[in-house]
Symmetry: C2
Subunit: 377 residues, 2 copies
């Protein structure tokens, strides 16, 4: 039995949206699923208890950051990432590829891997498919991501094709380097904005028979319509019995559009980052808490919300005060609210798929959400 | 029945240490008691639930800060400070005097009150005994502090005597300005480092028959021996049936020495501030978590500690990583640990008083604590 398996419960005929269950060594979780990001062995400002309470089931850890600090040896010595950070449910680790490629002039790519300088101390570092897998093996995440290049946008066809070919060679090296029975390797579909290269990528990865497939290289600056078009042409080629993960996407409109195109898994720093910037996510758009609209607003962030902040009676006026005063508890409340909001959003999408009314859900949500966002700037 | 009353349970004959119960409109709490500081309607980084969980019973709110932001009218509109910040147990508010006098050249004192410039926006502001009480009335704290001048150290006799006389006139104006049945006003003993002025202050305050008395103007830079000497000569004059509060003191050695001199209540930013600076308080001294001693230390901050961090299995190595990485969850764990430590410290002191072995407790603690602090820098 592979470490990671996917069970399809219902597929929405009109759109391709899927309700399923993801089975991992640390539990079985309903999909579609949103994974909060715990970059440095902590989802910023939030405790593992709070994550469980708000319904998070898998979190993402960043191999690049943990490789540099505190280092894989220390985390292995501390019992692996789950034990080190006291998180009992699922963990997916990225490969570090996205971060090292983002370093721009500070990195150099060869067939062997990528040489780069640490953003912490400027020291020279090296990551390769084998090293990325060795780090993720030490971390002991449930889902391991292949070491890839996320092609920037725009990129010409030659660059994209060459990069894709190397990413596929790297994926095979990653697969060969896997040693643990309790981990599953996901391949990452690349190919930039070229439909045929995406198709080539999918075909090569399917041949590797991996337990899951991610779609990478999207939401990198291209227009949303192009992103959705590439996403759709990619997901229709992916096998129905494997989970599909759209990397780095987490705004509500992108989530509903991703689900509509058959995506099962998402991650993004968006909900936690906007919380630290003083913003609350709601069903009708974002609230900028510093806004004077909320000075005398003694209502919760959202009516009938079950998050810690709203059910605890914390008001917009109080949270606004905390944000203005720079109090950590303010960003804690907003982080808990935003993460709850996205978990609730995913639950409601899943229910709509099960009930056969996902197209209505999608249409109604986008109508309300977009217009409210526009009004609130 | 006054809003605030004190019940003496047992007095240690050898030292004068007292175990008692403080009755307030928001509950009855065992003393001696340590009050965490919630400057801006939040104990930094901590939720009210967490405060209850670690055994905090009264917290302190700062009138100066809340006066400037968000302002007393907004907090009254939000149901008072308890409701605004969702804290069900006791609140003591200071008068704002300490903060405005700390502003140095930015403030001007007259008989009427103090004119000062806001540290937030530089705007001209005014606080007087009547305004301080009006603000604290709006906040709805259980214990209201009189508006006083905390005389700096050193200060000559003439300045100290003049300041004390004004502080006593202000105390009477405060008493006159009180309007709520559910609040009790504490007077503040001043008089600098002059025993006779301290005695004069005590006599005048006792004549006012207030529900409690604070000792102010200590721990302002004087040598510890002088502080203990002044404290002792003050507390012996205070009535046994009223609570005594030593303001702004919260290091473990000062707490045990304060209790030994008959103090029942303490507050200090110390445990929360050192947590944010990456330090853990323990029975044997402070741990500087960035220290490489803890890199591979997979033990809890303190053995057999019942705090959230220690009982949750978070290790020194993990917390060190979080502190170095600047993760908010690291300072949350340290804050919860330090506040628990002080609550536990107070509980154990109280038990020692009840068991009749407080002198042993004091001797043993100071021997272990001081030597360990010296070793660890």
């Amino acid at each position: 039995m592979p470490a990671i398996t996917y069970e399809l419960i219902r597929r929405d005929e009109a759109t391709g949206a899927r309700a399923g269950v993801l089975h991992t060594p640390h539990g079985s979780f309903p999909t579609p699923i949103f994974m909060p990001v715990g970059t440095q062995a902590s989802v910023k400002a939030v405790s593992p208890d709070e994550l469980e309470d708000l319904g998070a089931n898998i979190i993402l850890g960043n191999t690049y950051h943990l490789f540099l600090r505190p280092g894989p040896d220390l985390i292995r010595e501390g019992g692996g990432l789950h034990t080190f950070m006291r998180w009992k449910r699922g963990i997916l680790t990225d490969s570090g590829g996205f971060q090292v490629f983002s370093l721009g002039p500070l990195r150099k790519i060869t067939e062997e891997g990528v040489t780069f300088r640490s953003h912490i101390d400027g020291s020279k570092q090296f990551l390769s498919p084998e090293i990325s897998i060795a780090v993720q093996t030490a971390l002991g995440s449930d889902i391991v991501m292949a070491f890839d290049e996320c092609v920037p946008y725009p990129a010409d066809r030659t660059y994209t094709a060459d990069s894709l070919a190397r990413t596929l060679r790297w994926a095979k090296r990653c697969q060969k380097a896997m040693t643990r029975e309790d981990q599953g390797l996901f391949g990452i579909v690349q190919g930039g904005m070229y439909h045929d290269l995406r198709a080539e990528s999918v075909a090569a990865l399917i041949e590797m028979d991996l337990p899951g497939y991610a779609v990478g290289g999207l939401s990198v600056g291209e227009p949303p319509e192009l992103m959705y078009e590439i996403l759709e042409s990619t997901t229709v080629l992916l096998p129905a019995d494997k989970p599909r993960y759209l990397m780095g996407v987490g705004t509500p409109d992108c989530l509903v559009e991703g689900v509509a195109r058959g995506i099962d898994m998402f991650d993004c720093v968006f909900p936690t980052r906007v919380a630290r910037n003083g913003m609350a996510m709601t069903w009708t758009g974002r609230l900028v808490m510093k806004n004077t609209d909320y000075t005398h607003d003694h209502r919760p962030l959202e009516d009938n919300c079950g998050c810690y902040a709203c059910r605890g009676g914390y008001t917009r006026a109080y949270i606004r005060h905390l944000v203005r005063a720079g109090e950590i508890f303010g960003l804690r409340l907003l982080t808990l609210h935003n993460l709850w909001f996205l978990q609730d959003f995913m639950r409601q999408m899943r229910q709509a798929i099960l009930d056969g009314n996902f197209p209505d859900f999608r249409r109604n949500f986008l109508a309300t959400y977009r217009s409210a966002s526009k009004n609130k700037g």
